[in-house]
Symmetry: C2
Subunit: 228 residues, 2 copies
């Protein structure tokens, strides 16, 4: 099932560094990892990370992503309950290129009036272009991104920046007005506005405050992307 990992990586995107980091992360979190009921053949996780040939995130990949989130949030001073750690969402948008195009998130609360999440991104990881459409008589999700750690580059509708900090990964991207968010900086995105975002070289933690979240309704510009 696994093909040659080197040949299948389209761009490096700091993958080697990422593997080193995750290996270290796994070592330090052995106790948590022990609960992961997956195959653990020698070197398997390294191959998985560098391989973009599968159709979904497997259990090992999901677990590694969750461990990364736990570490990044702890570094940012953010405490999760054990249940929240187990429930960290790992989204590969149906592309099976998680390290390149993906998102990890913790949903604190999502009522029929408001929602709060932490978004966690790996170095250079991109959340693909999408918008939040109207639903159930509302204008659709309005959201505020507040950077907690690292840097996140947000791209929205408007005059494209002439020297953007990021290149989008393969796929369809149409908006390019760059907003750089460093810790303590925030930006509010109106409903229906196309946007995508990419973390800087250190990864990023972003608090999202919003109206009610209905992720399954998100409309992606690239027809191959889906919110699974």
């Amino acid at each position: 099932m696994l093909r040659d990992p080197v040949a299948l990586v389209p761009e490096p995107l700091g993958v080697a560094h990422e593997v080193d980091r995750i290996t270290e992360c796994l070592r330090r979190r052995a106790a948590l990892d022990d609960r992961c009921q997956v195959e653990n053949r020698d070197g398997q996780h390294t191959a998985n990370i560098a391989t973009y040939s599968r159709e979904v995130v497997d259990e090992r990949e999901r677990r590694e992503a969750q461990l990364y989130v736990v570490d990044k949030l702890a570094d940012a001073g953010i405490v999760l309950t054990p249940e929240e750690r187990e429930g960290i969402e790992v989204v590969d948008f149906g592309l099976s290129r998680l390290v390149e195009t993906g998102l990890q998130l913790v949903v604190y609360v999502n009522t029929d009036r408001y929602c709060a999440k932490e978004l966690v991104l790996r170095p250079g990881q991109t959340c693909p272009e999408h918008r939040h459409p109207p639903f159930e008589g509302t204008p659709g999700k309005e959201e505020t991104f507040r950077c907690r750690s690292g840097i996140v580059y947000l791209y929205v509708e408007g005059e494209p920046s002439r020297e953007p900090a990021c290149r989008p990964p393969p796929g369809t991207y149409t908006v390019g007005r760059e907003i750089e968010l460093r810790p303590g900086m925030q930006h509010t995105i109106p409903p229906g506005t196309l946007h995508w975002f990419q973390a800087g070289p250190e990864g990023a933690v972003v608090s999202e405050f919003s109206s009610t979240s209905r992720d399954e309704l998100d409309e992606f510009t690239d027809g191959n992307v889906r919110r699974t």
Copy 2:
């Protein structure tokens, strides 16, 4: 204008410790404090903190409270912009007993759909009992408290706890179902529900996620309390 500070302090509430802490805080933040355009007679700020005789929070007291917030948030890994630091709200609920009954807050965003704040409490400081009434066709503010650092004891409607951790300060308090929130723990308060809260001995930082906030509409159980 200033009366004997000792005679006017109804309960100690760790005031001496608080003054030590703030003195240290002031020393470390001399640069920020320099911008404070108030009188700085020797020992003045100590007298102010222990004095409950004035009708409003004065500039020095407000500044000290803001410095406390900056430190507490920094300790919790939360970064503020310089503008946010200048805009930290200090609320004494019209009682002029800020260290005992008061609240400090940073409002990140408050749209007509959602709101996000950080609430910061001094050791043992209490936010008095209130509820959020309906307004403009909405059921009123629904809010989720998530503890970030320290401990906060939240009291809501329901069977009163038999051995509550806190005593309310002087005033009218009618609800006593205790919910202890430690870092990573959260609780959602439905609209219209009476509630009050008090920080543990280390103070507390609490993230508040909610529907739209209209603080001026808050209804307090104690007729002497007002949201100024």
